[in-house]
Amino acid sequence: MRLMNSKPSRGMRLALNLLPFVILLIIYTLASDARLLENPSDKLLPSWSSFADAVQRMAFEPSKRTGEYLLWVDSAASLQRLLLGVGISAFIGLIVGVVSGMLPLFRATFSPLVTAISLIPPMAILPILFIVFGLGELSKVMLIIIGICPILIRDLQLRTQSLPKEQLLKAQTLGANSWQIMIRVVLPQVLPPLVSAVRLTLGSAWLFLIAGEAIAATEGLGYRIFLIRRYLAMDVILPYVLWIAVLAFLMDTILRLISKRAFPWYHGRGADAHE
Protein backbone atom coordinates (compact mmCIF):
# COMPACT_ATOMS: atom_id res chain seq x y z
CA MET A 1 0.00 0.00 0.00
CA ARG A 2 1.25 3.50 -0.79
CA LEU A 3 2.40 5.42 2.28
CA MET A 4 -0.02 8.22 1.47
CA ASN A 5 -2.93 5.79 1.68
CA SER A 6 -2.09 4.25 5.02
CA LYS A 7 -4.06 5.89 7.77
CA PRO A 8 -3.50 5.29 11.47
CA SER A 9 -6.35 3.82 13.49
CA ARG A 10 -7.97 5.94 16.18
CA GLY A 11 -5.88 4.66 19.05
CA MET A 12 -2.74 4.69 16.96
CA ARG A 13 -3.35 8.29 16.01
CA LEU A 14 -3.71 9.36 19.61
CA ALA A 15 -0.46 7.61 20.46
CA LEU A 16 1.32 9.31 17.58
CA ASN A 17 -0.13 12.67 18.63
CA LEU A 18 1.39 12.33 22.07
CA LEU A 19 4.67 10.77 21.01
CA PRO A 20 6.73 13.93 20.34
CA PHE A 21 5.57 15.54 23.57
CA VAL A 22 6.54 12.50 25.60
CA ILE A 23 9.94 12.43 23.93
CA LEU A 24 10.46 16.13 24.66
CA LEU A 25 9.56 15.64 28.31
CA ILE A 26 11.98 12.74 28.66
CA ILE A 27 14.79 14.69 27.01
CA TYR A 28 14.13 17.66 29.26
CA THR A 29 14.17 15.55 32.41
CA LEU A 30 17.45 13.90 31.47
CA ALA A 31 19.14 17.16 30.54
CA SER A 32 17.89 18.91 33.66
CA ASP A 33 19.06 16.10 35.92
CA ALA A 34 22.49 16.10 34.32
CA ARG A 35 22.92 19.86 34.71
CA LEU A 36 21.66 19.92 38.28
CA LEU A 37 24.00 17.08 39.21
CA GLU A 38 26.89 19.22 38.06
CA ASN A 39 25.75 22.47 39.62
CA PRO A 40 22.80 22.19 42.01
CA SER A 41 22.09 25.93 41.85
CA ASP A 42 21.86 25.95 38.06
CA LYS A 43 18.84 27.94 36.96
CA LEU A 44 18.76 27.06 33.31
CA LEU A 45 16.88 23.77 33.35
CA PRO A 46 15.04 23.63 36.69
CA SER A 47 13.78 20.36 38.08
CA TRP A 48 10.08 19.51 38.08
CA SER A 49 9.85 20.28 41.77
CA SER A 50 11.21 23.80 41.23
CA PHE A 51 8.51 24.32 38.65
CA ALA A 52 5.88 23.14 41.11
CA ASP A 53 7.27 25.49 43.77
CA ALA A 54 7.32 28.43 41.38
CA VAL A 55 3.76 27.82 40.23
CA GLN A 56 2.62 27.43 43.81
CA ARG A 57 4.32 30.71 44.69
CA MET A 58 3.09 32.73 41.74
CA ALA A 59 -0.44 31.39 41.55
CA PHE A 60 -1.51 30.40 45.04
CA GLU A 61 0.43 32.52 47.52
CA PRO A 62 -0.15 36.23 48.00
CA SER A 63 2.79 38.42 47.09
CA LYS A 64 4.54 39.87 50.12
CA ARG A 65 4.67 43.28 48.59
CA THR A 66 1.13 43.79 47.42
CA GLY A 67 -0.78 40.81 48.76
CA GLU A 68 -1.84 39.93 45.24
CA TYR A 69 -1.75 36.54 43.55
CA LEU A 70 0.70 37.48 40.84
CA LEU A 71 -0.15 34.96 38.12
CA TRP A 72 -3.80 35.94 38.19
CA VAL A 73 -3.10 39.66 38.38
CA ASP A 74 -0.71 39.33 35.44
CA SER A 75 -3.17 37.24 33.46
CA ALA A 76 -6.03 39.63 34.09
CA ALA A 77 -3.95 42.63 33.06
CA SER A 78 -2.65 40.98 29.90
CA LEU A 79 -5.98 39.55 28.88
CA GLN A 80 -7.68 42.87 29.35
CA ARG A 81 -5.14 44.60 27.10
CA LEU A 82 -5.29 41.82 24.56
CA LEU A 83 -9.07 41.74 24.40
CA LEU A 84 -9.29 45.52 24.18
CA GLY A 85 -6.67 45.66 21.45
CA VAL A 86 -8.09 42.77 19.46
CA GLY A 87 -11.67 43.90 20.01
CA ILE A 88 -11.04 47.43 18.87
CA SER A 89 -9.00 46.18 15.92
CA ALA A 90 -11.76 43.80 14.89
CA PHE A 91 -14.31 46.58 15.12
CA ILE A 92 -12.21 49.01 13.09
CA GLY A 93 -11.20 46.27 10.68
CA LEU A 94 -14.82 45.35 10.09
CA ILE A 95 -16.10 48.86 9.57
CA VAL A 96 -13.22 50.23 7.53
CA GLY A 97 -12.78 46.96 5.62
CA VAL A 98 -16.43 46.73 4.63
CA VAL A 99 -16.80 50.39 3.75
CA SER A 100 -13.56 50.30 1.83
CA GLY A 101 -14.56 47.11 0.04
CA MET A 102 -17.96 48.47 -0.90
CA LEU A 103 -17.30 52.10 -1.79
CA PRO A 104 -14.75 52.71 -4.56
CA LEU A 105 -14.32 56.35 -3.55
CA PHE A 106 -13.45 55.46 0.02
CA ARG A 107 -11.19 52.66 -1.14
CA ALA A 108 -9.25 54.94 -3.47
CA THR A 109 -8.63 57.33 -0.59
CA PHE A 110 -7.67 55.00 2.24
CA SER A 111 -6.47 51.75 0.77
CA PRO A 112 -2.96 52.99 -0.18
CA LEU A 113 -2.57 54.51 3.27
CA VAL A 114 -3.50 51.25 4.97
CA THR A 115 -1.07 49.38 2.73
CA ALA A 116 1.70 51.81 3.61
CA ILE A 117 1.01 51.47 7.33
CA SER A 118 0.94 47.71 7.09
CA LEU A 119 4.45 47.75 5.66
CA ILE A 120 5.95 49.41 8.72
CA PRO A 121 6.99 46.94 11.40
CA PRO A 122 5.37 48.25 14.60
CA MET A 123 8.47 47.18 16.51
CA ALA A 124 10.49 49.75 14.62
CA ILE A 125 8.22 52.55 15.66
CA LEU A 126 7.86 51.41 19.26
CA PRO A 127 9.84 54.41 20.52
CA ILE A 128 7.62 56.76 18.55
CA LEU A 129 4.47 55.02 19.73
CA PHE A 130 5.38 55.44 23.36
CA ILE A 131 6.14 59.08 22.86
CA VAL A 132 2.87 59.70 21.06
CA PHE A 133 0.60 57.62 23.27
CA GLY A 134 2.44 57.80 26.56
CA LEU A 135 3.33 54.86 28.72
CA GLY A 136 -0.13 54.03 30.04
CA GLU A 137 -2.53 51.30 29.01
CA LEU A 138 -3.32 53.22 25.84
CA SER A 139 0.07 52.72 24.28
CA LYS A 140 0.00 48.96 24.84
CA VAL A 141 -3.45 48.65 23.35
CA MET A 142 -2.44 50.94 20.51
CA LEU A 143 0.58 48.79 19.73
CA ILE A 144 -1.72 45.81 19.25
CA ILE A 145 -4.12 47.87 17.18
CA ILE A 146 -1.41 49.31 14.94
CA GLY A 147 0.06 45.86 14.56
CA ILE A 148 -3.03 43.92 13.55
CA CYS A 149 -5.57 46.47 12.36
CA PRO A 150 -4.05 46.97 8.89
CA ILE A 151 -4.07 43.21 8.37
CA LEU A 152 -7.71 42.95 9.42
CA ILE A 153 -8.74 45.91 7.30
CA ARG A 154 -7.06 44.51 4.23
CA ASP A 155 -8.51 41.07 4.78
CA LEU A 156 -12.02 42.35 5.32
CA GLN A 157 -11.74 44.63 2.32
CA LEU A 158 -10.72 41.66 0.20
CA ARG A 159 -13.55 39.54 1.57
CA THR A 160 -16.03 42.28 0.84
CA GLN A 161 -14.71 42.76 -2.66
CA SER A 162 -14.81 39.06 -3.34
CA LEU A 163 -18.49 38.70 -2.49
CA PRO A 164 -20.13 37.59 -5.73
CA LYS A 165 -21.07 40.69 -7.74
CA GLU A 166 -24.32 38.91 -8.45
CA GLN A 167 -25.40 39.23 -4.83
CA LEU A 168 -24.93 42.97 -4.76
CA LEU A 169 -26.82 43.35 -8.03
CA LYS A 170 -29.60 41.15 -6.76
CA ALA A 171 -29.92 43.26 -3.63
CA GLN A 172 -30.17 46.36 -5.79
CA THR A 173 -32.96 44.81 -7.83
CA LEU A 174 -34.71 44.22 -4.52
CA GLY A 175 -34.69 47.97 -4.01
CA ALA A 176 -31.91 48.27 -1.45
CA ASN A 177 -29.71 51.34 -1.13
CA SER A 178 -25.97 51.24 -0.33
CA TRP A 179 -26.52 51.43 3.42
CA GLN A 180 -29.09 48.65 3.47
CA ILE A 181 -26.85 46.47 1.35
CA MET A 182 -24.02 47.10 3.74
CA ILE A 183 -25.87 46.16 6.91
CA ARG A 184 -28.09 43.40 5.61
CA VAL A 185 -26.03 41.77 2.87
CA VAL A 186 -22.35 42.52 3.33
CA LEU A 187 -21.78 42.87 7.07
CA PRO A 188 -23.39 39.60 8.13
CA GLN A 189 -21.52 37.73 5.44
CA VAL A 190 -18.08 39.00 6.38
CA LEU A 191 -18.53 38.28 10.09
CA PRO A 192 -17.36 34.67 9.86
CA PRO A 193 -14.27 35.64 7.82
CA LEU A 194 -13.69 38.33 10.42
CA VAL A 195 -13.59 35.71 13.13
CA SER A 196 -11.16 33.62 11.07
CA ALA A 197 -8.99 36.65 10.44
CA VAL A 198 -8.99 37.51 14.14
CA ARG A 199 -7.99 33.94 14.95
CA LEU A 200 -5.10 34.22 12.53
CA THR A 201 -3.88 37.52 13.94
CA LEU A 202 -4.14 36.46 17.59
CA GLY A 203 -0.56 35.22 17.48
CA SER A 204 0.70 38.63 16.38
CA ALA A 205 -1.49 40.29 18.99
CA TRP A 206 0.21 38.28 21.74
CA LEU A 207 3.56 39.28 20.31
CA PHE A 208 2.80 42.95 20.39
CA LEU A 209 1.30 42.66 23.84
CA ILE A 210 4.45 41.06 25.20
CA ALA A 211 6.69 43.55 23.45
CA GLY A 212 4.64 46.43 24.82
CA GLU A 213 4.56 45.05 28.33
CA ALA A 214 8.29 44.49 28.22
CA ILE A 215 8.85 48.20 27.88
CA ALA A 216 6.23 49.80 30.03
CA ALA A 217 3.99 48.05 32.49
CA THR A 218 3.69 47.24 36.15
CA GLU A 219 1.95 43.93 35.72
CA GLY A 220 1.13 41.52 32.95
CA LEU A 221 2.48 38.25 31.66
CA GLY A 222 5.01 39.89 29.36
CA TYR A 223 6.10 42.28 32.11
CA ARG A 224 6.73 39.45 34.55
CA ILE A 225 8.74 37.44 32.05
CA PHE A 226 10.93 40.42 31.25
CA LEU A 227 11.31 41.35 34.91
CA ILE A 228 12.55 37.95 36.00
CA ARG A 229 14.51 37.37 32.84
CA ARG A 230 17.25 39.41 34.45
CA TYR A 231 17.61 36.67 37.05
CA LEU A 232 17.26 33.84 34.55
CA ALA A 233 14.44 32.43 36.68
CA MET A 234 13.49 29.69 34.26
CA ASP A 235 11.34 28.06 36.92
CA VAL A 236 8.93 30.96 36.54
CA ILE A 237 9.52 31.84 32.89
CA LEU A 238 8.72 28.42 31.46
CA PRO A 239 5.40 28.01 33.32
CA TYR A 240 4.48 31.52 32.23
CA VAL A 241 5.28 30.68 28.61
CA LEU A 242 3.20 27.52 28.81
CA TRP A 243 0.38 29.44 30.42
CA ILE A 244 0.45 31.94 27.56
CA ALA A 245 0.25 29.07 25.10
CA VAL A 246 -2.72 27.64 26.98
CA LEU A 247 -4.49 31.01 27.00
CA ALA A 248 -3.80 31.43 23.30
CA PHE A 249 -5.19 27.99 22.62
CA LEU A 250 -8.31 28.65 24.67
CA MET A 251 -9.00 31.93 22.93
CA ASP A 252 -8.62 30.31 19.54
CA THR A 253 -10.92 27.46 20.51
CA ILE A 254 -13.55 29.79 21.92
CA LEU A 255 -13.56 31.88 18.76
CA ARG A 256 -13.88 28.75 16.64
CA LEU A 257 -16.83 27.51 18.67
CA ILE A 258 -18.51 30.90 18.66
CA SER A 259 -18.19 31.04 14.91
CA LYS A 260 -19.67 27.54 14.54
CA ARG A 261 -22.60 28.45 16.79
CA ALA A 262 -23.27 31.88 15.44
CA PHE A 263 -22.85 31.19 11.73
CA PRO A 264 -24.31 27.77 10.96
CA TRP A 265 -24.84 28.80 7.35
CA TYR A 266 -21.09 29.32 6.98
CA HIS A 267 -19.96 26.08 8.54
CA GLY A 268 -22.91 24.03 7.31
CA ARG A 269 -22.31 20.83 5.45
CA GLY A 270 -23.32 22.47 2.18
CA ALA A 271 -20.65 25.13 2.19
CA ASP A 272 -17.51 23.04 2.03
CA ALA A 273 -15.72 23.01 5.35
CA HIS A 274 -14.42 26.46 6.21
CA GLU A 275 -12.30 25.44 9.14
Binding site: R65, P127, R230
Partner: protein
Amino acid sequence: ETKSKFRLAWTIYVGWMPWDYGDASGIVKKWADKYDIDIEIVQVNDYVESINQYTAGGFDATVMTNMDALTIPAASGVDSTALIIGDFSNGNDGVVLKGAKKLADIKGQNVNLVELSVSHYLLARALETVSLSERDVRVVNTSDADLVAAFTTDDVTSVTTWNPLLSEITAMPNTTKVFDSSMIPGEIIDLLVVNTKTLADNPKLGKALTGAWYEIMQTMQGSDAEAIKARSIMAEASGTDLEGYDAQLASTKMFYSAKDAVEFNNSAALMSTMGKVAEFSFEHGLLGEGAADAKFIGIETPSGIYGDKGNIKLRFNPAYMQMAIDEKL
Protein backbone atom coordinates in the same frame (compact mmCIF):
# COMPACT_ATOMS: atom_id res chain seq x y z
CA GLU B 1 3.44 77.47 34.63
CA THR B 2 2.35 76.33 38.07
CA LYS B 3 0.46 73.11 38.29
CA SER B 4 -0.65 70.70 40.95
CA LYS B 5 -0.28 67.28 39.29
CA PHE B 6 3.15 65.80 38.66
CA ARG B 7 4.47 62.52 37.33
CA LEU B 8 7.68 60.82 38.39
CA ALA B 9 9.08 57.82 36.50
CA TRP B 10 11.34 55.24 38.05
CA THR B 11 12.94 52.05 36.79
CA ILE B 12 14.16 49.00 38.60
CA TYR B 13 17.64 49.57 40.03
CA VAL B 14 18.92 49.14 43.53
CA GLY B 15 19.32 52.89 44.17
CA TRP B 16 15.88 53.75 42.82
CA MET B 17 13.78 51.12 44.53
CA PRO B 18 13.09 53.53 47.43
CA TRP B 19 10.70 55.40 45.15
CA ASP B 20 8.57 52.27 44.86
CA TYR B 21 8.60 51.89 48.63
CA GLY B 22 7.77 55.54 49.07
CA ASP B 23 4.78 55.04 46.79
CA ALA B 24 3.64 51.79 48.42
CA SER B 25 4.10 53.03 52.00
CA GLY B 26 2.35 56.36 51.41
CA ILE B 27 5.36 58.49 52.32
CA VAL B 28 5.31 60.25 48.97
CA LYS B 29 1.59 60.90 49.28
CA LYS B 30 2.08 62.28 52.76
CA TRP B 31 4.61 64.83 51.52
CA ALA B 32 2.61 65.70 48.45
CA ASP B 33 -0.41 66.34 50.62
CA LYS B 34 1.66 68.53 52.81
CA TYR B 35 2.41 70.79 49.85
CA ASP B 36 -1.05 70.32 48.45
CA ILE B 37 0.05 68.73 45.19
CA ASP B 38 -0.41 65.34 43.49
CA ILE B 39 2.57 63.18 42.60
CA GLU B 40 2.05 60.09 40.52
CA ILE B 41 4.84 57.54 40.79
CA VAL B 42 5.08 55.49 37.58
CA GLN B 43 7.21 52.42 37.09
CA VAL B 44 8.67 52.01 33.59
CA ASN B 45 10.22 48.72 32.59
CA ASP B 46 12.53 50.09 30.02
CA TYR B 47 15.04 52.54 31.40
CA VAL B 48 15.78 54.37 28.17
CA GLU B 49 12.08 54.67 27.45
CA SER B 50 11.52 56.42 30.76
CA ILE B 51 14.20 59.01 29.95
CA ASN B 52 12.84 59.48 26.45
CA GLN B 53 9.42 60.09 27.91
CA TYR B 54 10.87 62.61 30.31
CA THR B 55 12.64 64.35 27.46
CA ALA B 56 9.48 64.45 25.40
CA GLY B 57 7.65 66.03 28.30
CA GLY B 58 5.73 62.99 29.54
CA PHE B 59 7.23 63.14 33.03
CA ASP B 60 8.25 65.99 35.28
CA ALA B 61 10.87 63.99 37.15
CA THR B 62 12.75 60.83 36.33
CA VAL B 63 15.59 58.81 37.80
CA MET B 64 18.70 58.46 35.66
CA THR B 65 22.48 58.42 35.77
CA ASN B 66 24.62 61.48 35.34
CA MET B 67 25.74 60.35 31.89
CA ASP B 68 22.23 59.72 30.57
CA ALA B 69 21.07 63.05 32.01
CA LEU B 70 23.69 64.70 29.83
CA THR B 71 23.24 62.67 26.65
CA ILE B 72 19.47 62.39 26.45
CA PRO B 73 17.53 65.32 27.93
CA ALA B 74 20.34 67.87 28.01
CA ALA B 75 21.51 66.98 24.51
CA SER B 76 17.92 67.36 23.33
CA GLY B 77 17.79 70.88 24.68
CA VAL B 78 15.69 70.07 27.75
CA ASP B 79 17.12 72.07 30.63
CA SER B 80 17.31 69.64 33.57
CA THR B 81 18.23 69.86 37.20
CA ALA B 82 19.64 67.09 39.39
CA LEU B 83 17.35 67.55 42.35
CA ILE B 84 18.65 64.70 44.48
CA ILE B 85 21.88 62.79 44.32
CA GLY B 86 20.82 59.42 45.61
CA ASP B 87 23.97 57.39 45.41
CA PHE B 88 26.94 56.53 43.31
CA SER B 89 27.92 53.14 42.12
CA ASN B 90 30.63 51.65 44.24
CA GLY B 91 31.05 48.23 42.68
CA ASN B 92 27.53 47.99 41.33
CA ASP B 93 28.80 48.10 37.76
CA GLY B 94 31.53 45.80 36.62
CA VAL B 95 33.42 44.10 33.82
CA VAL B 96 33.29 40.31 33.94
CA LEU B 97 35.40 37.85 31.98
CA LYS B 98 34.85 34.17 31.50
CA GLY B 99 37.91 32.05 32.19
CA ALA B 100 40.51 34.82 32.13
CA LYS B 101 41.73 36.34 35.37
CA LYS B 102 42.87 39.87 34.52
CA LEU B 103 41.45 42.83 32.66
CA ALA B 104 44.18 42.98 30.03
CA ASP B 105 42.95 39.60 28.71
CA ILE B 106 39.92 41.43 27.35
CA LYS B 107 41.96 42.49 24.33
CA GLY B 108 40.44 41.16 21.13
CA GLN B 109 37.29 39.85 22.76
CA ASN B 110 33.67 40.64 22.04
CA VAL B 111 32.25 42.59 24.97
CA ASN B 112 28.49 42.38 25.42
CA LEU B 113 26.96 45.43 27.04
CA VAL B 114 24.23 47.96 26.64
CA GLU B 115 25.87 50.24 24.13
CA LEU B 116 26.11 53.95 24.92
CA SER B 117 25.07 53.36 28.54
CA VAL B 118 27.12 53.80 31.72
CA SER B 119 28.42 50.29 31.17
CA HIS B 120 29.98 51.51 27.96
CA TYR B 121 31.53 54.39 29.88
CA LEU B 122 32.80 52.04 32.57
CA LEU B 123 34.38 49.82 29.96
CA ALA B 124 36.11 52.81 28.38
CA ARG B 125 37.48 53.87 31.77
CA ALA B 126 38.55 50.32 32.55
CA LEU B 127 40.39 49.98 29.25
CA GLU B 128 42.26 53.21 29.97
CA THR B 129 43.66 51.70 33.15
CA VAL B 130 45.39 48.94 31.17
CA SER B 131 46.36 51.23 28.27
CA LEU B 132 43.87 49.73 25.88
CA SER B 133 41.27 51.56 23.87
CA GLU B 134 37.86 50.64 22.52
CA ARG B 135 39.49 49.64 19.26
CA ASP B 136 41.09 46.70 21.03
CA VAL B 137 37.72 45.07 21.73
CA ARG B 138 34.48 44.65 19.87
CA VAL B 139 31.40 46.04 21.55
CA VAL B 140 28.21 44.04 20.99
CA ASN B 141 25.03 45.82 21.93
CA THR B 142 22.98 43.49 24.13
CA SER B 143 19.74 44.29 25.91
CA ASP B 144 20.08 44.26 29.68
CA ALA B 145 17.13 41.91 30.08
CA ASP B 146 18.99 39.24 28.13
CA LEU B 147 22.53 39.71 29.34
CA VAL B 148 22.35 36.97 31.95
CA ALA B 149 20.94 34.46 29.51
CA ALA B 150 23.50 35.55 26.96
CA PHE B 151 26.36 34.98 29.35
CA THR B 152 25.47 31.31 29.70
CA THR B 153 26.26 30.74 26.03
CA ASP B 154 29.71 29.91 24.76
CA ASP B 155 30.13 32.78 22.34
CA VAL B 156 29.81 35.37 25.08
CA THR B 157 33.11 35.67 26.91
CA SER B 158 32.97 39.08 28.48
CA VAL B 159 30.28 41.49 29.61
CA THR B 160 30.03 44.85 31.26
CA THR B 161 26.87 45.41 33.25
CA TRP B 162 25.24 46.53 36.46
CA ASN B 163 23.41 44.93 39.33
CA PRO B 164 21.42 42.78 39.77
CA LEU B 165 22.68 41.30 36.49
CA LEU B 166 26.25 41.60 37.69
CA SER B 167 25.73 39.44 40.77
CA GLU B 168 23.78 36.86 38.75
CA ILE B 169 26.67 36.63 36.35
CA THR B 170 29.47 36.55 38.90
CA ALA B 171 27.60 33.77 40.70
CA MET B 172 28.16 31.52 37.70
CA PRO B 173 31.17 29.21 37.80
CA ASN B 174 34.41 30.17 36.08
CA THR B 175 33.85 33.93 36.05
CA THR B 176 36.03 36.80 37.25
CA LYS B 177 35.04 40.38 37.89
CA VAL B 178 38.13 42.15 36.57
CA PHE B 179 37.02 45.73 37.04
CA ASP B 180 34.21 47.48 38.81
CA SER B 181 32.95 50.94 39.62
CA SER B 182 34.55 50.97 43.04
CA MET B 183 37.78 51.61 41.15
CA ILE B 184 36.36 54.82 39.74
CA PRO B 185 34.29 55.91 42.74
CA GLY B 186 31.86 58.75 42.29
CA GLU B 187 31.81 58.66 38.52
CA ILE B 188 28.57 56.77 37.98
CA ILE B 189 26.01 58.80 39.84
CA ASP B 190 22.31 58.06 40.22
CA LEU B 191 20.13 61.13 40.19
CA LEU B 192 16.60 62.29 40.41
CA VAL B 193 16.33 64.72 37.53
CA VAL B 194 13.62 67.36 37.30
CA ASN B 195 12.79 69.69 34.47
CA THR B 196 14.44 73.00 35.44
CA LYS B 197 11.58 75.16 34.32
CA THR B 198 8.96 73.04 36.05
CA LEU B 199 11.01 73.18 39.22
CA ALA B 200 11.42 76.94 39.04
CA ASP B 201 7.69 77.40 38.56
CA ASN B 202 6.76 74.82 41.19
CA PRO B 203 9.16 74.82 44.12
CA LYS B 204 6.58 72.75 46.01
CA LEU B 205 7.46 69.79 43.81
CA GLY B 206 11.11 69.98 44.75
CA LYS B 207 10.29 70.29 48.41
CA ALA B 208 7.84 67.42 48.49
CA LEU B 209 10.15 65.07 46.61
CA THR B 210 13.20 65.92 48.66
CA GLY B 211 11.28 65.64 51.89
CA ALA B 212 9.84 62.29 50.93
CA TRP B 213 13.19 60.94 49.77
CA TYR B 214 15.03 61.62 53.00
CA GLU B 215 12.19 60.21 55.07
CA ILE B 216 12.45 57.01 53.02
CA MET B 217 16.21 57.02 53.48
CA GLN B 218 15.69 57.30 57.21
CA THR B 219 13.24 54.42 57.25
CA MET B 220 15.18 51.90 55.20
CA GLN B 221 18.47 52.32 57.00
CA GLY B 222 19.61 49.91 59.72
CA SER B 223 18.29 46.57 60.90
CA ASP B 224 15.18 47.38 62.90
CA ALA B 225 11.96 45.66 61.90
CA GLU B 226 10.66 48.58 59.89
CA ALA B 227 13.86 48.92 57.88
CA ILE B 228 13.86 45.19 57.18
CA LYS B 229 10.28 45.37 56.04
CA ALA B 230 11.01 48.35 53.80
CA ARG B 231 13.99 46.65 52.19
CA SER B 232 12.02 43.39 51.79
CA ILE B 233 9.41 45.25 49.82
CA MET B 234 12.06 46.87 47.64
CA ALA B 235 13.68 43.47 47.17
CA GLU B 236 10.51 41.85 45.98
CA ALA B 237 9.69 44.67 43.61
CA SER B 238 13.05 44.26 41.97
CA GLY B 239 12.48 40.54 41.62
CA THR B 240 14.92 39.29 44.27
CA ASP B 241 14.92 38.68 48.03
CA LEU B 242 16.19 40.64 51.01
CA GLU B 243 19.55 38.95 50.98
CA GLY B 244 20.07 39.69 47.31
CA TYR B 245 18.96 43.27 47.70
CA ASP B 246 21.24 43.90 50.66
CA ALA B 247 24.12 42.52 48.62
CA GLN B 248 23.35 45.04 45.93
CA LEU B 249 23.14 47.84 48.49
CA ALA B 250 26.55 46.85 49.75
CA SER B 251 28.12 47.82 46.46
CA THR B 252 26.20 51.08 46.30
CA LYS B 253 27.29 54.19 48.10
CA MET B 254 23.89 55.43 49.24
CA PHE B 255 23.72 58.98 50.52
CA TYR B 256 21.35 58.25 53.37
CA SER B 257 21.90 61.73 54.77
CA ALA B 258 21.41 64.92 52.81
CA LYS B 259 24.60 66.25 54.27
CA ASP B 260 26.78 63.66 52.50
CA ALA B 261 24.94 64.25 49.27
CA VAL B 262 25.44 68.00 49.38
CA GLU B 263 29.08 67.55 50.21
CA PHE B 264 29.52 65.30 47.19
CA ASN B 265 27.57 67.73 45.05
CA ASN B 266 29.76 70.62 46.00
CA SER B 267 33.08 68.83 45.58
CA ALA B 268 35.35 69.71 42.68
CA ALA B 269 35.48 66.03 41.76
CA LEU B 270 31.94 66.23 40.42
CA MET B 271 32.89 68.77 37.82
CA SER B 272 35.91 66.81 36.63
CA THR B 273 33.78 63.64 36.47
CA MET B 274 31.22 65.42 34.31
CA GLY B 275 34.05 66.59 32.10
CA LYS B 276 35.18 63.00 31.52
CA VAL B 277 31.62 61.93 30.87
CA ALA B 278 31.12 64.77 28.41
CA GLU B 279 34.25 63.84 26.52
CA PHE B 280 33.27 60.20 26.36
CA SER B 281 29.80 61.19 25.15
CA PHE B 282 31.17 63.48 22.50
CA GLU B 283 33.50 60.82 21.16
CA HIS B 284 30.57 58.49 20.76
CA GLY B 285 28.42 61.04 19.02
CA LEU B 286 25.97 61.24 21.92
CA LEU B 287 25.89 65.01 22.12
CA GLY B 288 24.19 65.29 18.76
CA GLU B 289 25.40 66.31 15.34
CA GLY B 290 25.42 69.98 16.25
CA ALA B 291 28.11 69.49 18.90
CA ALA B 292 31.47 70.81 17.80
CA ASP B 293 33.31 69.55 20.89
CA ALA B 294 32.71 68.02 24.32
CA LYS B 295 32.06 71.46 25.76
CA PHE B 296 29.07 72.12 23.55
CA ILE B 297 26.66 71.64 26.43
CA GLY B 298 27.11 73.61 29.60
CA ILE B 299 27.00 71.76 32.92
CA GLU B 300 26.54 73.85 36.03
CA THR B 301 27.98 72.58 39.32
CA PRO B 302 28.53 74.42 42.59
CA SER B 303 32.26 74.35 41.93
CA GLY B 304 31.97 75.88 38.49
CA ILE B 305 30.60 75.46 35.02
CA TYR B 306 31.90 72.90 32.58
CA GLY B 307 31.44 73.79 28.92
CA ASP B 308 29.43 76.46 27.18
CA LYS B 309 28.06 78.99 29.64
CA GLY B 310 25.55 80.16 27.06
CA ASN B 311 24.06 76.70 26.66
CA ILE B 312 23.61 75.35 30.17
CA LYS B 313 21.28 72.39 30.06
CA LEU B 314 22.25 70.35 33.09
CA ARG B 315 22.42 71.80 36.58
CA PHE B 316 23.60 70.23 39.82
CA ASN B 317 21.69 72.39 42.26
CA PRO B 318 21.96 71.45 45.99
CA ALA B 319 19.36 74.00 47.12
CA TYR B 320 16.62 71.51 48.00
CA MET B 321 18.96 68.98 49.61
CA GLN B 322 20.28 71.87 51.65
CA MET B 323 16.73 72.56 52.83
CA ALA B 324 16.56 68.98 54.03
CA ILE B 325 19.72 69.50 56.06
CA ASP B 326 18.31 72.73 57.45
CA GLU B 327 15.04 70.99 58.21
CA LYS B 328 13.16 73.63 56.30
CA LEU B 329 10.90 71.18 54.51
